[in-house]
Amino acid sequence: MPTYELALIVRAALERPQLANCLKRTCTYILDRGGVVRQMENLGNKNLPYIISSHGHRHTEGNYFTVDFDLSPNQMSTLRKVLLQDSDVVRPGIVHKEEKFVRPCVKNPENECDFGELKNPDFEKRAWKKQILRRVQYKMKASRNK
């Protein structure tokens, strides 16, 4: 079973017992389907980056949780559906979690990168194109003024 990370945004209006209930519901669902819950993290109450409307409410803030779990890939679609149907959940997001984070520059030492990010391979080409275009436009302007 692969490991996944669930980023769960729960309604900010919920109180502590209701929050606990929501987390318990998702955990029991995963455990019932033969999954394993590795760990949970609480990132606290935060403002949302943009207004999200779900289940007839417009949310501006939410409680952020992450759940690391193992589950069969066949169960993922149903899990996602269940989470979307949950009225307490504002937005669920599931990503596959790598066992060990390896930077792309370490994988292929030819690629130089800062902070594990690859440069755009088209960067030089684009820069060159931009330069040429600017020159052409300048010339056209000059000809027009004549």
Partner: protein, 223 residues
């Protein structure tokens, strides 16, 4: 239609030969004109009782042609009979030859040729076997190297998988189960984590307001 037919047959007309108008004549091949009328339409009234005139022939010419044809036939007959006679004689000679000495001699020749053929086969077989042996040895060497590499790879993979299993077993004590779920959820709700902090190029974490480095984020992501 009729005029076209007449135009095409102009050269033939000079020989005083008359062709029916419903036929187009080109280089002595007769092509019927189809699709002009459907089949169920009867003959036209003007052609209903039309009888074709027989082709006029020159008597003298006909006589000469018949004579030439008779000559040709007699000559062909003579040649054909000559050939049949020749073939029969050949057959007879062959039979007599076979009866006297032919078969034994031929059998001896066949035996000799079989021996020579077997010799050639043996030579080519020797060359082939030597080549196949060399190829087999070479492929066996390559296979041994490949197997060795595969074995090393498998061992590496098994060791890695084993280490992963061990890690999981070690970590499994911290897993959240049905029994400890309530406690864990309480703990989670009490705790708070924050990943909003700066790092340097090596991935090391910088504390706020200080130039001193903390440990790697990979080992200690706690706020």
């Amino acid at each position: 239609m009729a005029s076209a037919c007449v135009r095409t047959c102009n050269s033939l007309k000079s020989l005083n030969i008359v062709y029916p108008l419903s036929l187009r004549v080109c280089n002595s091949s007769v092509i019927s004109v189809r699709w002009r009328k459907p089949r169920w339409i009867p003959k036209t009234q003007s052609k209903l009782f039309y009888v074709r005139k027989p082709t006029p022939r020159d008597e003298e010419e006909n006589k000469m042609l018949m004579q030439k044809y008779a000559n040709y036939r007699t000559q062909m007959k003579a040649i054909r009979s000559y050939f049949t006679k020749f073939v029969q004689e050949e057959k007879q000679a062959r039979k007599e030859y076979d009866k006297s000495v032919g078969i034994e001699q031929e059998l001896a020749e066949v035996r000799l040729s079989i021996e020579v053929n077997a010799q050639w086969n043996q030579e080519s077989a020797n060359i082939r076997e030597a080549r196949e042996l060399a190829e087999a040895q070479k492929s066996a060497k390559i296979k041994a190297i490949k197997d060795q590499k595969q074995k090393e790879k498998d061992e590496e993979q098994i060791a890695e998988l084993q280490s992963r299993i061990d890690n999981n077993i070690k970590f499994s004590e911290k897993f959240i189960t049905q029994e400890n779920m309530d406690e864990e959820i309480e703990k989670v709700l009490d705790s708070r984590k924050d990943f909003n902090f700066p790092i340097n190029r090596k991935g090391q974490r910088l504390t706020r307001g200080k130039t001193k480095l903390k440990e790697d984020i990979s080992s200690e992501p706690d706020a």
